[in-house]
C-alpha cells in the first residue's frame, strides 16, 4: 500500500470532511437553513454551538449550508474552466499557426481585464442565479487554464512520439486525448487544486460584494457580509466562515501537492 505523508493525510481528512458536510448538509445541520431560531448574535451555547447570526439564525447551520453552496459552485466552475480551458489549450498547441494565434490573443485580451471587475460588470446586467454564476466564473477562469495547458502541450507536441503518431495518420482526438493528455495530467491536477481554491475565494468575494449568491441562500462570503457589523461589537460570527475558507484552501492544497508528487514519480512519468 502507498503511504500518505502526514500533511497530505491531514489535508485529505479535512477536505473529505468539508465535502461530506456539504453533501449531507440537511442531515447534519441542527436547524433549517433560513430558520430564525434565537436572538440576534446570541453567544455560543449548548443550543447554538457557534451562536446565532445577525437575524437570529443558527450560525453552524448557516455555515454547513453555506459550505454546500460555496463548494458546489466552486467545483462546478472549476470543472467547466478545466474542460473548456484544457481542450482549447491542447487544440491551440496541436493546430498551431493561425488557430493558435487567434485563441491565444483572444485569451490575452480577456486576461487584460481584471476578472473581478469583468465578473461584476457581467453579473450586474445578468440575472444572478447559481447557473449564471458558474458560467461566468468558469469561463473567466478558463483563460488561466488555457494558458497553462497550452504551454504544457506545446512542450509535448514537439516530442518524437507525437510526431510518430502524426506520421501514422492519427486524428486530432487521438493525439490530444491519448498522446498529450496523459503526459500533461500532473501539472493540470495540481493546478486543479489551486484553481478550486481561487474559485472558493472568487465566489466568496462576489457574495461579499452582494453580486454572488443571493439571500436567503447561504454561502461563506455572504455570511461574512451579513455579520460584518458584529465585528465592531466583538462578535466573532464573521470570522467562522473566514476560518472555514482558510481551512479548506490549505487542506486542498496539501492534497494537490501530494497528488503532484505522486503522479510525477509514477512509472514513466516525466517531470
Amino acid at each position: 500500500m502507498m503511504r500518505v505523508p502526514i500533511a497530505a493525510g491531514l489535508g485529505l481528512v479535512i477536505t473529505v470532511a468539508f465535502f461530506l458536510a456539504a453533501i449531507f448538509a440537511p442531515l447534519i445541520a441542527p436547524y433549517g437553513m433560513a430558520e430564525v431560531v434565537g436572538d440576534v448574535w446570541e453567544p455560543a451555547s449548548d443550543k447554538f454551538l457557534l451562536g446565532t447570526d445577525n437575524i437570529g439564525r443558527d450560525l453552524l447551520t448557516r455555515l454547513i449550508y453555506g459550505g454546500r453552496t460555496t463548494i458546489f459552485i466552486a467545483a462546478a466552475a472549476t470543472l467547466l474552466s478545466f474542460l473548456t480551458g484544457s481542450i482549447l489549450g491542447f487544440l491551440a498547441a496541436v493546430l498551431g499557426g493561425w488557430a493558435d494565434q487567434a485563441l491565444s490573443r483572444f485569451v490575452d485580451l480577456m486576461m487584460a481585464i481584471p476578472s473581478l471587475i469583468f465578473a461584476l460588470v457581467v453579473l450586474s446586467v445578468m440575472p444572478v442565479t447559481v447557473g449564471v454564476l458558474i458560467l461566468v466564473m468558469g469561463f473567466l477562469d478558463s483563460t488561466r487554464v488555457f494558458r497553462l495547458s497550452r504551454a504544457v502541450a506545446v512542450d509535448i507536441t514537439v516530442m518524437d512520439f507525437v510526431e510518430a503518431a502524426q506520421l501514422r495518420g492519427e486524428g486530432r482526438n487521438w493525439i490530444i486525448f491519448r498522446e498529450i493528455l496523459p503526459n500533461a495530467l500532473s501539472p493540470l491536477v495540481s493546478e486543479l487544486g489551486l484553481r478550486f481554491i481561487f474559485m472558493v475565494l472568487f465566489i466568496s468575494t462576489l457574495s461579499f460584494l452582494g453580486l454572488g449568491v443571493q439571500p436567503p441562500l447561504a454561502d461563506w462570503g455572504g455570511i461574512v457580509k451579513e455579520n460584518k457589523e458584529g465585528i465592531v461589537y466583538g462578535i466573532p460570527a464573521a470570522l467562522y466562515p473566514a476560518v472555514a475558507i482558510a481551512a479548506l484552501s490549505i487542506s486542498v492544497n496539501l492534497v494537490a501537492d501530494w497528488v503532484l508528487n505522486r503522479t510525477t514519480s509514477l512509472k514513466g512519468g516525466r517531470g
Partner: protein
C-alpha cells in the same frame, strides 16, 4: 617511480529513492584500485553506468548529484584527498587536478571572454601572475592548434566552433600547470571529422606539458590513440587493466574481446534489382524563415529489401531529407515517387496506406515512445490503426513482433521507463514493423547507444530485412555503421549529395576530398593510427 595518483579499493555509492519504497543504497563503484605515474595517460572505458565518470571525479574528491564516496583511498601526491579539509580541496581542484567536461558549450560562461575564463582558476589559486598566465594560455592555444592564438582569447564562446571550444576548455584545464587532468568524454559530442582534430590537439598538449591524465570515453578506438594504460570497467568493477597495446591486441577477458571486435559486422552488398521502391528526384528544400536551401537538388533511389545509407556530419541535411520523404517538410522543388506512384509533397495529402508504407525510427527512443503507454499499446496501436486488429488477434500479433525483436511477451505490460536503452530501440523497431511497411527511415538509430548494444540493433535490423524484405534509408554520421549495413551510400555535405553509388564503389578510391576526410576520420583500433591520419589529411572539416 613516483606515483602521482593512487586509488585503493575505492567504493562509491548513492541513495536511490524509488517511489513507494524505502530508500536504497546503490553501489556505483565496487572497490576499484589503480595507480598512475607522472606524465602517463590512463584510459577509462566502459558502457554507460559503468562508473567511469564517477571514478574520474573521485580524483577531485568530488561526488556528483548525491553521490557519496563510501570507502577506499585516493592519494594525490601521497596525500589522501578523501580525508582532506574543504579548504585543501579547494586548492586541489582546478589547481593540482583539473577537469575537462563533455559539453564545452555548457561549461563556458557565454558573457565572458575566453581568455578571462581560461586563466581564471590559475589566478584564483595564485599559481601564476596574470601576465604569466596569459602567456601560457596563448602558448597552449598554439599547441592546441587554435586559429590566431594571440587574439583567440579575446573572443566570446559563441564566436568559436564546438571543436574550438572543446580545445579552449583543454587549455583552461592545462593552464594552471596541474599534475593531473581528468578528461570526461571530451570528444563524444563532436562530429567525427572534428573529433580527431581535437583528439590530436589534446594528445599533443599532453605530451608537450608532460601532465598526467585520466581519459574517460566509451569508444575504445579513441582511447587507444591517447592512453598508455587502459582500464575496462563494467558495473563498477574492473574487468581488465593493462597496457594499451595488450588490451587492443591481446585482450584477456571475454568482455574486452567483445569491445575490441565491436563494429565488425560484415555485410555483403546486394546489387540493385527491380524497380526502386523510393525515388527522390531533384529535391530542393528550405525551412521557413531561413534564406538558404538546406537540401540542394537531391537525387537518390532505394531498392526493395536494400539499404541506402545517408552519411554526413551534423548540418549536412541528412535528417531534413527524411523529413521531406515523410512529408513533414514540403520541398520547394522536386518529387518523391514511392512504389511507382508520386507521393503528395505534404503529409496531410497522403493516404493512410502511403503513411503505412513509410515508417520511421528515431534516434532517441526515449522521446519516440509515449512514456504513459505500455509496450503492448505502443506496438499494438499501428495494428489496430492500419489493420483493424482487436483483442486476442492484436495481442497475438504483438507477441509475434516482440518475439521478432528478441524480447518475450513478458514485456507487453511494461512502460518505456522500465526498459534499457537497447530494449527501447527494439520496441521502436517493432512499432515500425507492425505497420508492415516497405520502407523504414532510420534516423541515427544507434548513435545514442553503447557500442555493444548498437551492434545488437544493427544485427537485428539486418535479420529483419532478410525476413521481411523491407528497405531501409539509414541516416548516420558513423561510417563503421555504414560499412556494416549499407548496400548503397549517399555522402552528404552542406545540403548536397557529393558522392552516391553502391557501397564498394563509394568506399573505394579515388575519393573526392570530403569523402576522404570522412573516411579517414573514423577512429580505428590500432596504435599510431591518429598520427598517420593527421599527416595525410587533405582538407579541414567544415564544422571546425
Amino acid at each position: 617511480m613516483s606515483e602521482l595518483l593512487t586509488i585503493r579499493d575505492l567504493k562509491i555509492g548513492a541513495t536511490a529513492y524509488p517511489p513507494g519504497e524505502p530508500p536504497q543504497w546503490l553501489e556505483i563503484v565496487k572497490g576499484v584500485s589503480v595507480t598512475l605515474e607522472k606524465g602517463k595517460v590512463l584510459g577509462l572505458i566502459g558502457e554507460s553506468g559503468a562508473g567511469k565518470s564517477t571514478i574520474g571525479l573521485a580524483a577531485l574528491a568530488y561526488g556528483r548529484g548525491g553521490v557519496e564516496i563510501s570507502g577506499g583511498e585516493v592519494l594525490v601526491n601521497d596525500r589522501d584527498i578523501l580525508q582532506s579539509r574543504q579548504k585543501d580541496l579547494r586548492s586541489l581542484r582546478g589547481g593540482e587536478v583539473t577537469y575537462v567536461a563533455q559539453s564545452a558549450a555548457a561549461a563556458f560562461n557565454p558573457a565572458r571572454k575566453l581568455m578571462d575564463q581560461v586563466i581564471e582558476a590559475t589566478l584564483e589559486h595564485g599559481r601564476m601572475s596574470k601576465s604569466e598566465a596569459e602567456a601560457r594560455a596563448v602558448n597552449l592555444f598554439r599547441v592546441l592548434g587554435l586559429p590566431d592564438p594571440e587574439t583567440f582569447g579575446s573572443r566570446y564562446p559563441h564566436q568559436v566552433s564546438g571543436g574550438q571550444l572543446q580545445r579552449a576548455m583543454t587549455a583552461m584545464a592545462l593552464c594552471p600547470a596541474p599534475d593531473l587532468v581528468v578528461f570526461d568524454e571530451p570528444t563524444t559530442a563532436l562530429d567525427v571529422t572534428t573529433q580527431i582534430e581535437v583528439l590530436a590537439a589534446i594528445k599533443t598538449a599532453i605530451r608537450e606539458t608532460g601532465v598526467a591524465a585520466i581519459y574517460i570515453t566509451h569508444d575504445l578506438a579513441v582511447v587507444a590513440q591517447v592512453s598508455d594504460h587502459i582500464m575496462v570497467l563494467r558495473h563498477g568493477e574492473t574487468v581488465e587493466y593493462g597496457e594499451t597495446d595488450q588490451i587492443i591486441n591481446s585482450p584477456r577477458e571475454e568482455y574486452t574481446r567483445a569491445l575490441v571486435s565491436v563494429r565488425k559486422i560484415q555485410h555483403v552488398e546486394k546489387a540493385p534489382k527491380g524497380e526502386p521502391v523510393l525515388k527522390v528526384e531533384n529535391i530542393t528544400a528550405r525551412y521557413r524563415g531561413v534564406p538558404r536551401d538546406v537540401l540542394k537538388d537531391i537525387n537518390v533511389e532505394v531498392y526493395p529489401g536494400q539499404t541506402l545509407a545517408v552519411v554526413g556530419e551534423s548540418g549536412s541535411g541528412k535528417s531534413t531529407l527524411a523529413r521531406v520523404i515523410t512529408g513533414l517538410l514540403t520541398p520547394s522543388d522536386g518529387q518523391i515517387t514511392f512504389d511507382g506512384r508520386t507521393l503528395s509533397p505534404a503529409m496531410p495529402g497522403r493516404t493512410r496506406d502511403d503513411l503505412r508504407q513509410v515508417q520511421m525510427i528515431y534516434q532517441m527512443a526515449d522521446t519516440a515512445m509515449n512514456p504513459r503507454q505500455t509496450v503492448g499499446t505502443i506496438i499494438g496501436r499501428p495494428l489496430e490503426f492500419y489493420f483493424g486488429l482487436k483483442g486476442a488477434a492484436k495481442r497475438k500479433r504483438v507477441a509475434e513482433l516482440l518475439e521478432k525483436i528478441e524480447l518475450g511477451d513478458g514485456f507487453l505490460d511494461r512502460y518505456p521507463a522500465e526498459l534499457s536503452g537497447g530494449q527501447k530501440q527494439r520496441v521502436c523497431i517493432a512499432r515500425a514493423l507492425a505497420a508492415d511497411p516497405q520502407l523504414i527511415l532510420c534516423d541515427e538509430v544507434t548513435s545514442a547507444l553503447d557500442p555493444l548494444v548498437a551492434d545488437g540493433i544493427l544485427k537485428l535490423l539486418l535479420e529483419l530485412q532478410a525476413e521481411e524484405n523491407v528497405a531501409y534509408l539509414f541516416i548516420t554520421h558513423d561510417l563503421a555503421t555504414v560499412k556494416a549495413i549499407a548496400d548503397s551510400i549517399a555522402v552528404m555535405y552542406q545540403g548536397e549529395v557529393v558522392r552516391y553509388g553502391p557501397k564498394t564503389q563509394v568506399l573505394s578510391p579515388p575519393f573526392d576530398a570530403y569523402t576522404d576526410l570522412l573516411l579517414s576520420s573514423v577512429p580505428e583500433m590500432e596504435l599510431g593510427w591518429l598520427e598517420d591520419v593527421i599527416e595525410h589529411r587533405r582538407m579541414e572539416s567544415a564544422g571546425n
